[in-house]
Symmetry: C3
Subunit: 297 residues, 3 copies
């Protein structure tokens, strides 16, 4: 299935071979089914008995996707991916009312072009890892989830959202005067179809949870207090399938879209850096940040 040349992620030594690997080594100390590791901004807890990891974004006040958080996210995913005992991951937020506010604007404003490039590569890296993950990925969306936050949810295998009309989700980049990159768009189209994506992206819509459900942007709504219970139940359903077949199927469904970024990755970084460096765009972003500050105070 791989195009010629070495591809970083979607064509890595197939993670799905883990399915036929032996179970976790008996040398592993028994009675300690739960391992956890924590970075500055991400908490991970892996339940060795179920094979399910809980990954919590914890970067108050709004889980902005800073370079640091993005890097920790990618590293955490990689660790889990390489852990034989981990088969699924639930992604959620440790911050009340917000899943993630999306890309950290301060990383895109008043910095060097080198910084912009490094930042964008980290955004790509996270998406490439998450969208191609061989693990079952479930988003437990316990708060609002605009822009990059929405992308994270869209990249999972299943999306459950708290049934709270105050929580909204969407790719609202156009509202900020910027444009969602093509691979955000491709991911969105794969979930909601072309027409819904076209309209929502052009209007930069943030959809309240009930509307998001109606559009197919999220798969299910549950009362907030039932979110984790539901995520566990969904995970169990997906893990009932043989890993190998499920993973090959996932690859088949997502490969075309993953390959498109892989093939144009450097070009995409260059485009982003050029675009974001424009004085008109910088001005828009400064104004937006001013507005946010005023709103806060």
């Amino acid at each position: 299935l791989c195009p010629p040349g070495v591809l970083p992620l979607c064509c890595r030594p197939p993670a799905w071979d883990r399915a036929t690997r032996p179970p976790p080594s008996p040398l592993q100390p028994p009675g300690i089914p739960c391992r956890s590791f924590s970075n500055n901004k991400i908490q991970v807890e892996l339940d060795g008995s179920s094979g399910v990891a809980m990954m919590k974004l914890k970067s108050p006040p709004v889980n902005s996707l800073s370079l640091e958080l993005l890097t920790e996210f990618s590293i955490s995913l990689e660790k889990l991916e390489n852990d034989r005992s981990c088969r699924g991951v639930v992604i959620t937020s440790a911050v009340p009312k917000i899943f993630s506010s999306g890309l950290d604007i301060t990383e895109m404003c008043g910095k060097s072009t080198e910084h912009y490039g490094e930042f964008w590569r980290a955004v790509q890296e996270l998406w490439l890892r998450l969208y191609s993950s061989s693990m079952v990925t479930v988003a437990a969306i316990n708060g609002s989830s605009p822009a990059g936050g929405c992308l994270i949810a869209l990249s999972c295998d299943y999306r459950i959202m708290a049934e709270n009309p105050k929580f909204s989700i969407g790719l609202n980049e156009a509202q900020l005067g910027i444009v969602a990159p093509f691979w955000f768009k491709d991911t969105f189209v794969n979930v909601v179809g072309h027409r819904t994506a076209e309209r929502s992206l052009q209007l930069g819509s943030l959809h309240p949870a009930p509307e998001a459900h109606k559009l197919g942007l999220v798969d299910e709504l549950v009362p907030e207090e039932k979110l984790m219970e539901k995520a566990a139940a969904v995970m169990a359903q997906w893990l009932a399938l043989p890993d190998h077949a499920r993973q090959l199927t996932k690859t088949m469904m997502r490969k075309a879209v993953l390959d498109r970024l892989v093939a144009h990755r450097e070009e995409d970084i260059k485009n982003f850096v050029t675009f974001i460096s424009k004085e008109s765009i910088q001005k828009s972003l400064r104004m937006y940040m001013e507005m946010l500050k005023k709103k806060k105070s």
Copy 2:
């Protein structure tokens, strides 16, 4: 985003740069916010204060898309596109009960191959301009809209239809024994998805307004007397977005389908001319016209 080589429309000097252009020159006479121009078959009125143009098809009895009307339509769009003060256009009909009956069959029957070629190029030109327009385009569908009339509606950003079950809309070419070209199909699939398009195109279905709404062929139904009011409200919502970002997003969504015709334009003309010149097809069209005449009398 542009492929190599100069492309006519979808890659023109980016119209979205108008967004960062200065507002209309102060030399422009104040107090005259409304300009209008009129051709034989199209009336255009531009409200300089809102930036919204109203474009009305006025070619009784059924707004057939003749070579003349198509040409006027393309010229009018170009004028508005080049007018700094125009940001959106509402397309509707000045003829009661009919939005547009589609391509004028008399242009396709008993004429020279040169004429068929010229006619088809004009159909392509209108679609290329409308589907790639940098303006917000809203179809206010105040009557039936078969075939080419449906294509015009499908090419807009938003479709509002009068809530009248007697009005129907669809790509019914198959009913006439002809085939919708691939770019009609691509535009249709982008709006309603593959399955709905496949079934509707094979059956040549004309969907009554309520069904068209259910299928996603139109976005909204309103009582006929509220149509213009609703179109203005929708337009205001879309114009609230920064032009630049909205336009880049629109291009991203539509470019693949636009490029496909651009790349095969001459071939598509040749195919059309060959197909329409066949005696069997000419006979079908003559029979259809006879039927229409009898129906009228």
Copy 3:
């Protein structure tokens, strides 16, 4: 429309030219409008007056798609395709409660690689013929229809299913530890869209009839005793269209997906043979067959 080189099916001497052929020869004996032929596992009855053939799978206990049945199916389709008086075919089952249980696992288990290759070519052949058929194809799904049975239904122009929640349908390959090939997936995506296909394929879901209808996997549900009546009515609606235009439209909608298999046919066979020959897969299939045997007894 044809790519260079001779293609087997979707680019055969266009079957749609039959539309302009003369009606059945008057030399044909009058008063015998009904012809039938029967193979071991398929019964075909053609009603010469309506131009509609009824094709019944009759391979108890579950209409497994064995090499023999697949071959008879392809030959029957070809016969009808070449019969001027046949314009449409209804596909259904002569076995109670089951439409078809899908590919015959005994053909994929414990056989030679040559056999696997021959078997897979027969599966491809059936799909290429059915999905590209110039006839109107209606699936009258009068029982459960997993895996390859579902593919047959998906390849028709219209799907009517008995309104019985005990009957289910879906591409459940993942449940068996195997993976639906890309052209099963492409056919599925064309019917239900990318997201529904992604979720359903990864979970290997078998959808009860009401759910299948909600997802768009089948077009209509009717009480079981009305199934044939409804199929006839739907067929009449589709046959009301001129064949030529309908067939060209169908080709336009399906060609991309057909061409993809045609271009990769030998590679696809090789992939299948390699995959199915793996000891781990053979073991899965043996276990599955054991389970089925136990269930039976």
